[in-house]
């Protein structure tokens, strides 16, 4: 064969020196680098997604950390309430504490007289505060007639305002002296000795452009509609249809023209040099604090303005230095917290009557329709009962079933079938288990809806394949020599398995179980179908009570329109994730500690 070797043509120059890298080699190395970069960026993307997700949750949850309370003295007026210390506690509880609280606020802010304003004033306090006060007084009837300090929980919008969710009340620098006098029609004439409102005027005009833009966008949507109706007119088969579409088209045209006219009007106002500008509730809010109260500007020029009182102001003010000027950038119409409410909140805050305290209620209360009252304790307890049912079913059944399949089952068609079955069951979408629960446990067995019992059973069936598969793997990892040794000293097979194999496999089984339980704890979809999505205000006390669970609570809250629920949702997720992380950590520690290499 030597002859063949010697006749090999040099198909390519053989690499000479080891160190001399050819172009080809550099290309190959670049290809390798590319693959490496793809891999790293894939990991980067995964990590970035995780970070984005967790930071979203934590950032949002920050809003639920504190809640706002009124630390205001309350006069428990027996006359007003119509009860005395000797009344029956149930009667005391039904007394008009709501009215008492509202009366207190109205006395503090006597300017609030209109229906709308009074409602806004009452809305500073949570709808649940009067019940808490009632319960407190009913439990201590001796307090009646006294003046007590009882923290009243503020409403969700007040809390959001205090958090700065609607933006900050920006204090503007002022140089001039302020004069305010009342006009005949009740409005105020406001002026400064310097052009202190110049910047505010600029912002007001800028906001006009923003509004005009919004109107023009709406107009372009109408433009679209005009086009679509035009197409329909073309495609219409009967005269009737055609005239109908033509009418619609005309209507859209009218709307478009109106919107554009409005936008042009706003732009013209904004373009107009100088001059007083009207400040409506679609524009920024300009607030002045002076003379012991708050005013709002309704028309503004560089140095003078018209305005109205929000809270009582001592008039007239002449060339006063003691004033401050504030701008709230978010227009009043865009926030559920009016200028009046801002003025009241700021007044109370200045008097030291508002405090923000750590939100312990969130961890001790059950669900509520009011965000400031809602807590997760009910859901946590519901999750506990559900997991209790799940664990006590799935763990014994799963482990014992795995023992049978791994240690005792004869190799035949039926056990093969069971095995295929378990693998398939592991991949069945969780929502299908919900349908199973709905049809079998609620429909056929007539078990109670919304109960941890049914939820637990459904989740147990869902988790079962995971636990069987993990337990079998753990049992398989125990070397046959252990079984042989036990059988060799005369133990029966059952004894060999339960005395020797199972204890050795236990850490692995527990790890698998914890991971399965963690998955069950985070599961939502099947529980929606068996009614665990109901609104439940009481903490469940057993497995047949109505209950909800943490992930379902998250889902419910995320669906509510109140903005304050966003923070509650995120906070509930934090609690859920904490449980899951702890469970997973335990699993990892178990695995690390007992991992055995045979």
């Amino acid at each position: 064969m030597a002859d063949i070797a010697s006749t090999i043509p040099d198909a390519a120059p053989r690499p000479g020196s080891l160190a001399a890298g050819s172009d080809r080699l550099r290309k190959r190395r670049r290809a390798e680098l590319r693959l490496k970069i793809y891999g790293l960026s894939a990991i980067g993307i995964a990590a970035a997604a995780l970070i984005a997700l967790l930071s979203t949750v934590v950032f949002q949850a920050g809003g639920a950390l504190f809640s706002t309370y009124f630390d205001k003295e309350i006069q428990l007026d027996t006359e007003f309430l119509g009860v005395t210390a000797s009344s029956d506690p149930d009667v005391i509880r039904r007394a008009d504490f709501d009215g008492l609280i509202e009366r207190g606020l109205e006395e503090r802010f006597p300017l609030a007289t209109g229906r709308q304003e009074r409602r806004e004033l009452h809305d500073l306090v949570s709808g649940g505060a009067n019940f808490e006060l009632a319960d407190h007084v009913a439990a201590n009837p001796d307090l009646l007639g006294q003046s007590i300090n009882f923290p009243l929980i503020g409403s969700d919008t007040l809390d959001l305002y205090k958090q700065g969710a609607y933006g900050r009340l920006d204090r503007q620098p002022v140089n001039g002296l302020l004069s305010v006098s009342e006009r005949e029609d009740g409005n105020l004439d406001i002026s400064t000795s310097a052009n202190d409102f110049t910047d505010a005027l600029r912002q007001v005009k800028a906001q006009l452009y923003v509004d005009a833009d919004r109107l023009r966008r709406q107009a372009s949507r109408q433009e679209n509609a005009i086009r679509v109706y035009g197409e329909r007119v073309e495609a219409a088969e009967t005269d009737e249809e055609r005239s109908e579409h033509l009418a619609d088209q005309d209507l859209a045209r009218e709307r478009r023209d109106a919107l554009i006219a409005q936008a042009e009007g706003l732009e013209a106002r904004a373009d107009g040099a100088g001059g007083a500008e009207e400040v409506d509730d679609d524009n920024v809010s300009l607030l002045i604090k002076a003379g012991g109260g708050w005013m709002r500007l309704t028309e503004v020029n560089r140095a003078d303005a018209s305005g109205e009182m929000l809270t009582r102001v001592e008039l007239p003010i002449e060339d006063s230095e003691a004033w401050s000027f504030h701008i709230m950038a978010m227009p009043e119409s865009n926030r559920p917290f009016s200028d009046h409410q801002i003025a009241w909140a700021e007044t109370l805050d200045e008097a030291g009557l508002i405090e923000r305290v750590f939100n312990t209620r969130f961890f001790t209360a059950a669900d509520s329709r009011a965000p400031e009252l809602a807590g997760i304790w009910g859901a946590v307890v519901g999750s506990f009962w559900t997991m209790l049912v799940t664990f006590s079913l799935t763990f014994p059944v799963g482990v014992l079933g795995a023992i049978y399949l791994q240690e005792f089952a004869p190799r035949n068609r039926f056990t093969d079938f069971i095995e295929v079955n378990i693998n398939n069951l592991a991949a069945v979408p969780s929502i299908v288990f919900g349908l199973l629960g709905l049809a079998v446990f609620l429909g056929f067995f007539g078990m109670p809806r919304s109960a941890p019992l049914v939820g637990g059973i459904v989740l147990a069936l869902m988790t079962l394949p995971t636990i069987i598969i993990a337990s079998r793997a753990a049992l398989r990892a125990v070397p046959p020599s252990i079984r042989e040794a036990a059988l060799g000293v005369g133990a029966s097979k059952v004894q060999a398995v339960f005395h020797h194999v199972l204890p050795l496999a236990m850490p692995g089984i527990l790890t698998g179980t914890i991971i399965g339980m963690a998955a069950a704890l985070g599961e939502t979809a099947p529980l929606l179908l068996i009614g665990m999505v109901a609104f439940i205000v009481e903490v469940p006390t057993g497995i047949t009570d109505n209950a909800t669970v943490l992930p379902v609570q998250v889902f419910r809250w995320s669906d509510f329109p109140e903005r304050a629920f966003e923070a509650k949702t995120a906070a509930a997720i934090c609690v859920l994730l904490t449980f899951l992380v702890v469970m997973n950590l335990v699993a990892i520690i178990l695995r690390r500690k007992f991992e055995r290499r045979w």
Binding site: A2, I4, A5, A11, A12, L18, G21, R24, L25
Partner: protein, 253 residues
Amino acid sequence: MTDVKIKAKDVQVYYGDNHAIKDVSVEIENNTVTAFIGPSGCGKSTFLRCINRMNDTIDVCRVEGDIRLDGEDINDKQVDPVQLRAKVGMVFQKPNPFPKSIYDNVAYGPKIHGMSRNKAELDEIVEKALRRGAIWDEVKDRLDAPGTGLSGGQQQRLCIARAIATEPEVLLMDEPCSALDPIATAQVEELIDELRQNYCVVIVTHSMQQAARVSQKTAFFHLGNLVEYGDTPKIFTNPEDSRTESYITGRIG
């Protein structure tokens, strides 16, 4: 004919904290079959894997010392292990054909190194490699059949052909016959003897008979040390070191 192909000096290998190879220095000659023998775990395979830097692929493994191929330091920073391995081919203990056709198994090396300009040239390279691997006659009619479908001995000769196809200068063989039956072993040994004409062959073997049959030079390793190195007949008939003697007479191993 006694030009030195590989020159190793004071080579140390560590697996984590384990000092696996200690102060090994050896000069391996071209166109010669050199056998590394020694009891299990003596480091002979580890040392073999240093010669084409296959130990780079093991995270915890650290190699020190100086190994030169034709006078060039193979552990130099400038050296790309890819290029080194093209020059120093390797055959493993267990036949490891790729799950591809016989043709693709052999053509793989030439393709990645760009050794052919067209299909015809590649065909030629493959045929030559298979001929030199002494397996051409058995597989020439089924080049498209999967390499994993061959018998153990055929698989190993396919792997040798695969290694030859990239035109290496050195061929490292890590117990190439340990997974083969006696007949296949005989065929492979015959092949090794023929390969000596063109290559520097280094073979790690467990079997002293095999070393005696195929090699001209023999190195005896014990506990990570190179105990004795010399002409094969001398090592087997008149060893200098008592440990070598104990090993070849079967007292340690």
